[in-house]
Every structure is written in C-alpha cells, then in structure tokens.
Symmetry: C2
Subunit: 167 residues, 2 copies
Amino acid sequence: MNYTEAKDKFISTWGALGTLWGINKAMAQIHALLWISPEPLSMEDIMEELQISRGNTSMNLRQLMDWGIVFKESKPGERKEYFVSEKDVQELARQVAKERSRREIKPVIKVLREVSGIEDDGTKKTDELIKQTKALYELADSADTMMNKVVNQESNWITKTLMKLIK
Amino acid sequence: MNYTEAKDKFISTWGALGTLWGINKAMAQIHALLWISPEPLSMEDIMEELQISRGNTSMNLRQLMDWGIVFKESKPGERKEYFVSEKDVQELARQVAKERSRREIKPVIKVLREVSGIEDDGTKKTDELIKQTKALYELADSADTMMNKVVNQESNWITKTLMKLIK
DNA sequence: TCAAACTTTCAATAATTTTTGAAAGTTTAT
DNA sequence: ATAAACTTTCAAAAATTATTGAAAGTTTGA
C-alpha cells in the first residue's frame, strides 16, 4: 500500500465509521483529511481532494469548528482562510466526548429522570416503567459523570486510566 | 405526567437518541417498548402500539435479536410468538458494547493498523499520515480492549469500576 | 395432506438526509 | 466608494435510508 492508497483508505474508512455513528460522511472525511494533513488546507484544497461542493465544504467545516476539533487559520498576507484540525488524539477524544454528552446524553438523562420520577400508581406497568427507566437513568448518569470527569482531566489521564483498567 | 405521557415520552426520546447514534428509529422504539413492558408482546401488540407495519416490525425485531437484546418467547398452547427484551441494564450495556465493537470498531482498528503500518518514505505527508493514524490506532485499541474487558466480566463490574473512577 | 395462523421477504414507495450551486453576504485593498 | 476575492446561505435536486404491504414461506393441528 503506497501513500495515496493508504490516505484514501483512511479517509473512506473514517467516513464510513462516521455514518455508522450518526455523523455525516462529508464531515467525517473532511476531519480525516485535515487530521493527516501536515499543512493547513484551504476550502479549495478540501473540495478538490474530496470532490465535494463549496457549500457542502463550508457547512461541514462550520460543524467541525462548532465541535471544537477544527480551527481556522489565516496565513499572513493571504485573503483565503485555511483550516487545521486538532492534532492531539486525547484532546480529540475529550472534545468529542464533551460535545456528545452536552448535546445528546444530558438531554436524555433529563428525560429519564422525569419519566422515572412519575407518581407510582401501583399498577404493574407503571412499576415496570419506573423500574426500567430508573435503571437506565442510573447507568447513563454514571457513564456521563465519568465522561465529564475524563473531559476535565489533563490530556493523558485517559490513557493512564485505561491502562490501569486493562492490566 | 401520567403513565401514558411518560411511556410515550420515553419511547420517543429513545427513538430520537437511536437516530442520533446511527440506529433506526423503529428499532430503538421497539426496544424501548419491550424494555418497559412487564409482559411479552406479540407482533400485533408492537405494530398497534407504535403504529408501524408488519414488515417493519418483523425486520427490526430480527435485528434486535441479532444484537442479542431481544428474545423470542412462546406461550404454551399459542401459535403466536411473543417478544421480550433483556431486562438487566448491565447486560444490555455489555451486549451493545460487544456488538458495536465486533461490527464497527474492530474493522476500523484493522484498517488503522494497516494504514499506519505502511512504509515510511520520509516525506512530510507520509510521516504525518503514519503518526496520526498510529495515534488513533492506539486510542481505539485501548478503548476496545477495555470494552471487551467489560464485556467479559461479571455483570456488575462496570458499576464497581465506574464508581472507583468517579469518587 | 390440507388449511389456518402466523412470519418473513422484498420490490415499490415514502421520508429523511445530504449535497449542490448560484445568489447573497462579507472583507479587504485601493 | 468600489471591486475583487473569498465565504455563507438556502432552495432545489439527488442520494440514501426507512417503511409499507402483499406475496411467498413456514409451522401446526386436525
């Protein structure tokens, strides 16, 4: 496998993984491209390399910036804007965990707390609803608390902790 | 919030979370419905409650069974088949983690190993490709190893471990 | 063996999501 | 103030994914 084959394989695999996890393909592929690029890339560069439109590129770069894993960079004396990705894998993981918690997990936890907190009328179906949503609430809340713990630690805490758990 | 409101809120929230994480809405909602149902449900029951077609119900029940989180149950003397979900939250988590690892994470790890293992021709772009995909490989591999550790422990290992980390 | 009761399959259709591209918007240099 | 260089927006189109429903398939009891 030469450079080009490896690059293309990485970009398409990352795009496919994104799709599987609810992230659109273009967004994941732009991230992959920037992740392995030693230099900042312009919008033109990205459009050209991934064969996608200007609008698509613009919208997905905005999303990546909203997620805090891609940044704008201006080269002095140039009108064009360039983009770079966060290059540290731990920081990438922290940022993704933080955003998914904030946008997706926390709102669900809130609903689980509300639902499991309804008044128990003593019927079997109400008992079961309360019992099962409470169990889910407790699991989700522990997992989320841990994720946020991770997010607020220094960058290599993850690795150290995982290593301790694994061995 | 009464029983019906709480039930509907739980089912639609679970469906929406599924969608966000790449799981189809019907599949997530069928799971939610079975999760809180004190009794096994027939295909008719599910179609009726969620207002979805027979075909859709059948296909998504199959997927839930493939994931190992829903089971068929036959009531003696009845022709119809009934369905129940795994009721233990830890077992649910283990099973989902195990399947996502097997189907989605492991294949990506394999690609990351291949890509990061290409011959280094000493160019800046090849250096960066290798360095960045290797970092991703190491993170993904640690995370996956931990997940599988979790999967192969007794059911309450997760809770104990999370508790240790959080406190 | 037949037929009733039930489930699965799958081609067609519908719904949703993504992508495009051109117009509108913005910034900067003169 | 103008225009060139660039980015963003958004309605329309395309692509993808989910859903339907009827035909085919299966199982069971008589």
